[in-house]
Amino acid sequence: MTDVLPLAVSFEALTSMGFWLGVGVIAGAYTIFTLGLQLNVGFTGIYNFGQAGFMAVGAYSMAIFVTDTGINFWLALPLSMLITIAFGLIVGLPSLRLRADYFAIATIAASEAIRLTALNARDLTGGAQGIFGFGDSWESLQDTIEGWLMDLGWSDPDTLAPLFIVVWIVAIGLTFLLSRVQGTPWGRVLRAVREDEDAARALGKNAYSYKLQSLAISAALAAIAGFFLAINLAFVIPDEFGPTFTFVGYSMLVLGGLASYWGVAIGAIIFETLLEGLRFIDLPISEVKIAALRFIILGLILIGLMAFRPQGILGKREEMVLGD
């Protein structure tokens, strides 16, 4: 299915900077994507399984704005984020009133509905072929950053280096921002909602509204991750936004630990390194089998983590949101 990094397998690649920069870019995009899940699951207690759908809305809106309407790329980014936030609200408004497990099903269905729309509304989204040709503005920025890198003494910077740098500046910035926000009264209310919604309501807090805000912010984060993914691939296609992407995000989330923003980046890096590192184990089996093996391992990691260390690496036992 979603092949995260379509690169040829060779031993040289293991030591190639370009390869690991590529892994780093994906890990960075996943970090941003999963920060939203952390906000929802770890800090608000809502099980959002539609994150890949929100990412699709962000990436597709950006691509459509730039290629169809000719809006400037840098203006298209905030506009697409607003559209994604609107989608988050549309999905959340009715479904956040549901019980936790119903909400999970509703969001995964919403995300699949979005993907199928991308596949079927060909006039707007290009169908299975998707959309490309929205990266010009990014490429000029990329050249500028390459110029700076050369000024700093890197004689021949890798083409992926600028994207890697930008993605991680954004990821770390957002992680820092969210950790700070968590200490504010707003962040404390979110945690109160997670711990005991009725108690939060008894104190006069509108739990529903806080959940909705949490989901909307998470959708915005998904949109940002979607931009980076789209830039990295240079196109958007429906297959990139399947529910597996969300499941991988959840694996990173629980690996890094629930209720820990810094754990998200750690989970993403470990996970991507593991998953991509698998390419270098020289197995005498076909490509299809290797692809299958990667997802079998992903599944086993999820099962193993949930069975033996549900709080993850950096998660706090006392903030366990898993056990009811």
């Binding site: 936790a100 999970a104 099903i105 079927n120 529910p243 959840y250 999820l302 549900p310």
Partner: protein, 335 residues
Amino acid sequence: MEAGTVAVERERPLERAREFARGHPAQAALVVLGAIVIALVAAKGLHDVAQLALTGLSTGSIYALGAVGLTLVYGILKLTNFAHGDFLAFGAYMAYVVNVSWGLPLVLGIAVAMFMTALLGVVLEKGMWGPMRARRAGVLQLILMSIGLALVIRYGIQYFAGTELRTLDVNNTDTIKFLGLTLGRTQAIVILIGFVTLLGTGVMLRYSLLGKRMRALSDNLDLAETAGIDTSRVILWTWVFAGAFAGLAGVLYGATTQLQPEMGFELLLPIFAAVVLGGIGDAFGALAGGILLGVVIEWSTMFVDAGWKSAVGFVVLILVLVIRPQGIFGKARTL
């Protein structure tokens, strides 16, 4: 609720209908459904509506078979099993091994598929879900475990069978004609097997001791245990039924279409929709919900391109969750 004594006197017909719907959800659902059918017949003609409904019955009975197992497991174990769709795929591939790889009759393939999928359910209960329940695992923990399990089964199938489309050795060209309607022979057999099995399940749940015990556990597991029911045995039987029906549904689906590793996930969401439609945890509701959903999805092709078929399933799922999360037949208190 706001209806005081004064309001009752001035009640308008619409409100009276609402009041009725609240008290008799099943009848109200039938009335709404009847109205939709009449409107469809008026707009598109009796033949088209009946023809599509017939096709819908075939997929609908597959959904129903899948849904009844999923809903029993949910009702009794409070486990939202995201791997249930992949149980269907597992069953279909088991039948493929018997039917195509070994060249034996499909009937034998169905038997093996049902047995192996039931066994899979029991083994997972013993090795995974039972121990997790003993540790009082939370909702998210179980959901994520079942997603992990789904990935293992799906890509396990892909590992051994590859991604190519496979077909079972069935006759998919013969058709049966009656009353001016056409139906594939395989689809007719699917409807027949589906309805017989579902009827049997209904009778079993309603009248047999095991069925009563299952429903008792579904109502309240602790209370059932206090009442002297051997809950762990009933739970095992629940998995046997859920697995066997999933296996059967998988083979039937494979017989009418094709087999591929992703088929489980494609079936999962319509099955969820059927479960939610009938009221989650309600076995009778799941049966009705599955068949209804199959028919509604087929009807939708009169208005939208067939490529949107699965999207229709999601829309139904979301609409029901939003408007009537307790299911069309359920009463509000069951939530």
